[in-house]
């Protein structure tokens, strides 16, 4: 349960990492190249962590019908 919660937090942080850097480019805080690198890291972490919890809750939901 705790592991699942930690995984979810990491996943959502990774998702934020794909979006937030673009706004930082828009406001002029970072360069586009750094933004692209951060987006890639966010992508890898998202797919690496979300697959462990995203479909689990759906399967549990089906089992209790």
């Amino acid at each position: 349960m705790i592991v699942a919660t930690i995984l979810k937090i990491i996943s959502f942080a990774a998702l934020a990492l794909t979006l937030v850097p673009a706004f930082l480019v828009f406001w002029g805080y970072i360069e586009p190249n750094l933004s692209k690198t951060l987006m890639l890291i966010g992508t890898v972490v998202w797919f690496g962590t979300a697959s462990f919890w995203m479909n689990k809750s759906e399967e549990e939901e089906e089992e209790v019908i």
């Binding site: 998702l15 794909t18 979006l19 850097p21 673009a22 706004f23 480019v25 828009f26 002029g28 586009p32 190249n33 933004s35 692209k36 690198t37 987006m39 890639l40 966010g42 992508t43 998202w46 797919f47 979300a50 697959s51 995203m54 479909n55 809750s57 759906e58 939901e61 089906e62 019908i65």
Partner: protein, 474 residues
């Protein structure tokens, strides 16, 4: 050897309930549909359709208002038409149509339907190929290309086609799970790619956006050789670009798994994330590309996304194409399998995947996507009207539902007449009335309704209204 047998057993164990209602314990929760719709409609097509509004000179005001109205109408169609029928019958479009129209009619319909699905899935495999080809310096297709322009293009397309087919062979669950995971990430990438390039368009604050949108991004001037799009074009396109799926009832294959008809509203995720935000985002990217390339004819979503969002952008194009191609391939497999239910699902999907991959080699499929999408919906639409009327209206008129099943008939003429007259009417409006293809769906639907009711009344007058179908209670 044992692993080969194990794989075969797993493939043959895939049961998608092609000819039986979905059992209650197999129904899916709303999250599955939200993920599937968001993934399916935030997809490879969005990288093509969004830019086409720019090319057709849509103004910013027309685009925003047209998309809002059209998308709302599409969601309502999914819920009140497809959702209602899906939970009442819990069968696929193909099996339902066979009960209404007879197996001979369904045979023809299924071949047409599967071919359309193959072309749609093929165009998405081609879109993915434009991203996969980046590290190999692949020569990208242009707006005027019809045939494959290099051996590298064909090899790339076949690689993606093979992966897509193998995944689709394992059925809806695998597709749904991957779409669930990819959907939120894809939305983020679409938005991030567009936001990140705004300064290059001269937008440095939120207040700059609308003036630049009106004068630079969607300036209302079509590219040379392209027709002008108005509010009505955009509204009807947004409503009808998935006409085959909602009004045409193809999404019975998905929504038959829904616990309630209201799950049809979950299509709103696909419409407003995909057909609003993603279309606008890809339009922004294409507009920037046109400005910086000084009007280049190259049309390749992969490099455009890569330039805006780096490797994550290119990966997004691959996955976006893939999450559209996969369920479309799955639907095409169902269509073909209903010709002969004894065929194994995985073998049919393998065959369909091969046809799709060959089609994907031709870039013309992508370049003509706007017209193809409209045509695809139009062809399937009359049968959607037939199914809706057959399930909900005919019993109230004292006529029999599932007429072909009831009379053990191979062909229900009422359905054939409806399909033929509706499409001839639409063709006539197009050729003699000069009505563009995007506007034909609405009058065509009313013609289909009128003809089917009239034809059913004439053909069924000696049949008592005894429905052979036991109503489902879940």
């Amino acid at each position: 050897m044992s692993s080969t047998q194990n794989l075969k057993q797993r493939l043959e164990a895939v049961n998608e309930y092609e000819r039986t209602p979905i059992p209650k314990n197999k129904l899916k929760g709303w999250k599955s549909f939200i993920g599937t719709y968001a993934g399916e409609h935030t997809a490879g097509t969005e990288f093509v359709l969004g830019p086409l509004f720019v090319a057709h000179g849509a103004s910013a005001g027309d685009l925003v208002s047209g998309l809002i109205v059209g998308n709302i109408l599409a969601v309502l169609s999914w819920a009140f038409l497809t959702g209602k029928v899906a939970v009442k019958t819990r069968t696929t479009l193909y099996y339902q149509l066979e009960k209404i129209a007879g197996n001979r009619f369904t045979l023809v319909y299924n071949v047409v339907n599967a071919a359309l699905f193959c072309f749609l899935a093929g165009s998405m495999i081609a879109v993915s190929a434009t991203a996969v080809g980046i590290p190999f310096n692949l020569q990208m297709p242009s707006l005027t290309d019809v045939y494959p322009n290099s051996v590298g293009w064909i090899i790339t397309v076949f690689g993606i086609g093979a992966i897509t087919t193998v995944v689709a062979m394992f059925g809806f669950n695998v597709i749904s799970k991957f779409a669930n995971i990819a959907a939120p990430w894809m939305i983020m990438i679409f938005i991030a790619a567009a936001v990140g390039v705004l300064p290059r368009l001269g937008i440095n604050s939120f207040s700059d956006f609308w003036p630049v949108a009106e004068t630079t991004i969607w300036n209302g001037v079509p590219l040379e050789g392209q027709s002008k799009f108005t509010f009505w074009h955009i509204m009807f396109f947004a409503w009808f670009c998935n006409m085959g799926m909602h009004i045409g009832m193809a999404d019975l294959s998905l929504l038959r798994y829904a616990k309630k008809w209201t799950y049809g509203f979950s299509s709103a995720t696909g419409m407003f994330l995909g057909h609003f935000i993603a279309w606008m985002a890809s339009g922004i990217l294409y507009s920037l590309f046109l400005i910086e390339s000084k009007g280049s004819l190259v049309f390749a979503p992969g490099p455009i996304a890569y330039e805006a969002a780096g490797i994550a952008g290119a990966v997004c194009v691959v996955i976006a194409g893939w999450t559209t191609a996969n369920p479309t391939l799955y639907r095409a497999g169902l269509a073909i399998q209903s010709i002969n239910p004894k065929w194994k699902t995985w073998k049919v999907t393998l065959f369909v995947g091969l046809v799709t991959t060959i089609a994907a080699c031709f870039p013309a499929l992508v370049m003509q996507l706007l017209e193809f999408v409209a045509l695809y919906g139009l062809i399937l639409m009359p049968l959607g009207a037939v199914i809706f009327l057959d399930v909900f209206v005919l019993p109230k008129m004292g006529l029999a539902s599932n007429y072909a099943e009831l009379t053990n008939s191979h062909f229900n003429p009422a359905v054939g007449i409806t399909w033929g007259i509706s499409l001839i009417f639409c063709l006539g409006l197009n050729i003699y009335g000069g009505i563009e293809i995007f506007f034909l769906g609405l009058p065509g639907w009313f013609v289909a309704v009128f003809v089917y009711l009239l034809a059913s009344k004439a053909i069924q007058k000696k049949v008592t209204n005894v429905s052979p179908t036991i109503p489902l209670t879940y």
